[in-house]
Symmetry: C2
Subunit: 300 residues, 2 copies
């Protein structure tokens, strides 16, 4: 029997949040509705965050309430503070994601607090969320390296992960935010983490900045991981430079998984179509090689 | 102790051969001379082929004779017929590469003969080469799929490989010409082939058309392979469409190998520099993600 791998599609939030030109709410809704019909079971819809911090997601309430919610799909939203969580509860959000990192420097720059303080914030958020029967996913960024601190110790990452589990997170997403990991470091991290946390609770969120994302995902699969974050057309993920890439493309992950005979229940053609829709809209090069290869083929 | 992985740099031949604009011989020589100082131990310099077939490599004699030959580097040239081999012998070539495929359709289109006939040609070439103490490398293309025939049976690939070894090839390079393989198919092929051929004789030549090249290389490494073909800046390799990629970038392979603690003796910075030189000259997007990421970083 084919083993199931869950894809967590992060494009509507992680992919769009750094776009400078405001994207019309209707386009975001259309995009999410398209993704909802691909077979994806988790689509991170937006972030309930102050427009001061992420102007592009200022329409999060409207996006969340107006998308056609497929009952087979979870639509987590990223939450940073109590206000965001209150708003999320009001509109019936069932899944949230919270964010921390083992890197003090990254935490200070991104969340303006210490790692310890960020965990305290998460504790408050998770307590309220769980009281409201909301599922909590914990993102840990910079797990294989930090743009400010360089190397990050495996023990620190695992310590943060253990704490997130203790605080009530039912899934930990390990982010290689700057894409510096290789399969060897991935393996060490995952083996160490699985001493305390079962693999069903661990997701990987790899960036392709150095071209290593699919090799790292393959290493993660070999180490028992069955939850993978990705973004159609590879949109988002703070690439350094023109042409540099961030998030790994969902299409390319699906191609890998199909080749390895994993079951995803996701329709690759429909995902390719959603990826082309959003990269056309953004007028950005499509960063899925599978999408580009098949486009060439269809034109032959 | 760190295990050694040999990189076979194919950019001067495989990377340049499909360029429509004629590249001045001096640029090719400069490019190869740069590569010769990176620590690479094998650089496929050109093809001794009729200008009728590959106009871009019409200057092969001049290129081969005028490059500064680093005694620590092998400079194989691709050979298709007796005339090419005679010329190669004349100018003191020490390493040649020959080409075949298990796909009848691909063989007909590319070499205008049957697979059996191509093996007969190779037999003639290899016999003469070996008499002249010239080492022979055998390329097998379409090992994980053919643009015309689709799936290619593992047994057929292994049969061709066995025959090439029998004919005197001391290394077999397995080409996933259209980049359709995934680590599962790579593993099956390599495990089967190693029943008859020792791993020291097997190289992998993977294309990144579907984004799978590094994952496939990682799978090959796990299956004992220690020879990898690649091309700086990812140049060449018949990409299907604008933005689609062919050869895997040497820079990205080196980053993977460095991360996995393999020894290559190759200087990544110098390779990046050669890759930038040639992609600037060709006015093509640099397809090494490592090169792009570090360029962005240096600009920060």
């Amino acid at each position: 029997m084919e083993e199931f791998v869950k894809i967590v599609e992060v494009s509507p939030r992680d992919g769009l949040q750094n776009e400078k030109e405001m994207i019309p709410t209707a386009v975001k809704i259309d995009f999410i509705n398209q993704l909802s019909n691909t077979g994806l079971s988790v689509i991170e819809a937006t972030s309930f965050v102050s427009p001061k911090w992420i102007p592009q997601l200022a329409d999060h309430l409207e996006v969340y309430t107006k998308i056609n919610k497929n009952p087979a799909v979870q639509y987590p939203v990223l939450i940073f503070n109590n206000q965001g969580l209150e708003n999320a509860i009001q509109v019936g959000v069932k899944d949230i994601a919270v964010f921390t990192t083992p890197s003090e420097a990254f935490c200070r720059r991104n969340a303006n607090c210490t790692v310890e303080e960020s965990l305290q914030r998460i504790q408050t958020l998770a307590t309220t969320a769980l009281e409201n029967r909301i599922r909590v996913r914990g993102y840990i960024s910079c797990v294989l390296g930090c743009p400010f601190e360089g190397e990050i110790s495996v023990d620190k990452v695992c310590d943060v992960a253990d704490k997130l589990i203790d605080l009530g997170c039912d899934e930990i997403s390990l982010g290689d935010t700057i894409g510096v990991g290789t399969p060897g470091t991935v393996e060490i991290l995952l083996k160490t983490m699985q001493k305390n946390i079962s693999r069903e609770k661990i997701a990987v969120h790899f960036h392709d900045t150095y071209g290593q994302a699919l090799a790292n995902i393959y290493a993660a699969l070999q180490n028992g991981i069955r939850i993978i974050d990705s973004s159609v057309a590879g949109i988002g993920g703070c690439p350094y430079a023109k042409g540099a890439t961030g998030n790994v493309a969902t299409e390319d992950v699906l191609y890998l998984l199909n080749g390895l005979k994993f079951r995803t229940d996701v329709d690759l053609d429909k995902v390719i179509s959603s990826g082309r829709f959003i990269s056309n809209y953004l007028q950005r090069e499509n960063r899925s090689k599978v999408s580009l290869a098949l486009m060439g083929k269809n034109n032959d």
